[in-house]
């Protein structure tokens, strides 16, 4: 599904930020990318999406999406890949929506442009999608503006937009970090349900090992732009081989419910 091999990312000034990251994601599989801020998690995701930050370029290695090397993708090929193949959600849903358009109109636009649906069909499909995101009164939500919705509702709208093109791969970069714990649990459940229903592959980026433990089959641990350890989630979290991973797990367990209760 996704194949990242020896990926190097550098600034135009020549400073290398990511030094040869490799991992493979099979159809329907979920991989968690963990590591501290600055470890290269988000840079790697943006490279996979074909939108590296300004001044950063892929300086080595390959990224394959469903067998295609994306290095030579034209803008048009990217337009065709984003939506049906790859989609993403990020930490701050409000900043990805136009504040002066209703959320339904923004979801409808994606459905019309990407899926070629007629206006009226698009509206019906938009309401249906909002309903399947667990949003109550989806017809009402459809006609609301982003400021009228809570953070958890906005993230559901963004997930609806992301899955509207029925992608094979969803990238979720700190998508639940800014949400209340109860809302985070609901959004994680939603992503888990979507994975099961749509055979969605998932690349989940989080600084919270517990979030990764909820959804991912495999974990890739990044540090300073390098993979220090990767493997099945239970193996990496229960019996970490690398000292850095051991420190991450120990730090996680120092405070919090996991230290108090063996659940």
């Amino acid at each position: 599904m996704l194949f990242v091999d020896d990926l190097h990312l550098s600034t135009t000034g020549g400073t290398e930020l990511v030094h040869g990251v490799s991992f493979a994601l099979a159809p329907g599989e979920a991989i968690g990318l963990v590591g501290e801020s600055g470890s290269g998690k988000t840079l790697t995701c943006r490279a996979i999406l074909g939108v590296p930050p300004p001044g950063v370029t892929v300086s080595g290695g390959t990224i394959r999406l469903a067998g295609d090397d994306v290095a030579h993708y034209s803008r048009r090929q990217w337009d065709r890949a984003r939506g049906p193949r790859i989609a993403a959600v990020f930490q701050d849903p409000a900043s990805y929506l136009n504040p002066s358009l209703t959320v339904g109109r923004q979801l409808g636009e994606v459905l019309r442009v990407k899926n070629g649906l007629h206006r009226r069909v698009a509206k019906a499909r938009a309401v249906e999608l909002l309903a399947s995101m667990g949003l109550h009164r989806p017809e009402h939500v459809h006609d609301q503006y982003p400021y009228e919705l809570s953070g958890g509702m906005l993230q559901r709208v963004l997930i609806a937009i992301a899955v509207s093109g029925d992608p094979d791969l969803l990238i979720a970069d700190e998508a639940t970090t800014a949400l209340d714990v109860t809302v985070q649990a609901e959004v994680l459940n939603l992503i888990a349900a979507l994975r099961a229903e749509r055979r969605l592959s998932l690349l989940l980026v989080s600084h919270d090992l517990a979030v990764v433990a909820q959804l991912c089959d495999h974990v890739v641990v990044l540090r300073d732009g390098r993979v220090v350890e990767s493997g099945p989630t239970r193996q990496v979290l229960d019996d970490p081989a690398d000292p850095y991973t051991r420190a991450l797990v120990a730090d996680h367990r120092e405070y919090g419910l996991d230290r108090l209760v063996a659940r």
Binding site: E186, Q214, D251, Y255
Partner: protein, 267 residues
Amino acid sequence: MTAALEADGVEVRLGRRATTPILHGVDLTARAGEIVGLIGETGSGKTTLARAVVGLAPLHAGAVRVDGTPVSGLRGAELRRFRRGGRVQYVFQDPLRSLDPDVTVLDSVAEGLAVRGEGRAADRRARAVAALEQVGLDPALGDRLPGRLSGGQRQRVTIARALAVDPRVLLLDEPVSALDAANRNHVLRLLDRLRREREVAIVLITHDLGSLAGIADRIVVLYRGRVVEEGPAARVLLEPADPYTQRLIASVPSIDGPRPIYARSTR
């Protein structure tokens, strides 16, 4: 022994005619050296309660006392003197927005002392350096602007600024929810040391009940402007009595594996 902080029956209403109740008679106490966790979701009123305690939101009813002295009825010059005195310090949620981006870290930390008119500039700098050291920051960072620090460092700067004026009560709004585990541990260990060594009464405000385990002595659960549960931390976390508290605990993700899927709802 009187509590360092006592809030009784706090009622806050918003709106031009005070028609929208936000807090319906909430009690909150914190003794010297105690860490109290104040937990609630977005909109529960936890930040409003903290603002009411420091005099940033007007009380419709109820009273707030600091070391036994009423502070909630203060107006005008008295209120300014209380705020300037710095006995109660409030550390805001977003360190990037609560630090002036154009003022160096050291000047930000020293500013509270300047406002109180304490000491000469050189003494104030020395005390600000000491406060930075106390939160585990290299004083060499003092010459930097907040934008050049990491999130964890900025959070510690805001705590250093609050400590510089030697407060009796420290209220912190979501001090660790945006931090990774290593930085979270730094901040929590620091708070634990402060309550032991300086007997500061600490109120930790958060939406994440799990983050209070291992640090809070007592937990107060706020839901829609009312306290629904209150008690020793271990009791609240291990045997939550209120259904809302139970739901909060069930929502905390565990590193040990997936939680059962619970009812999806959007309130």
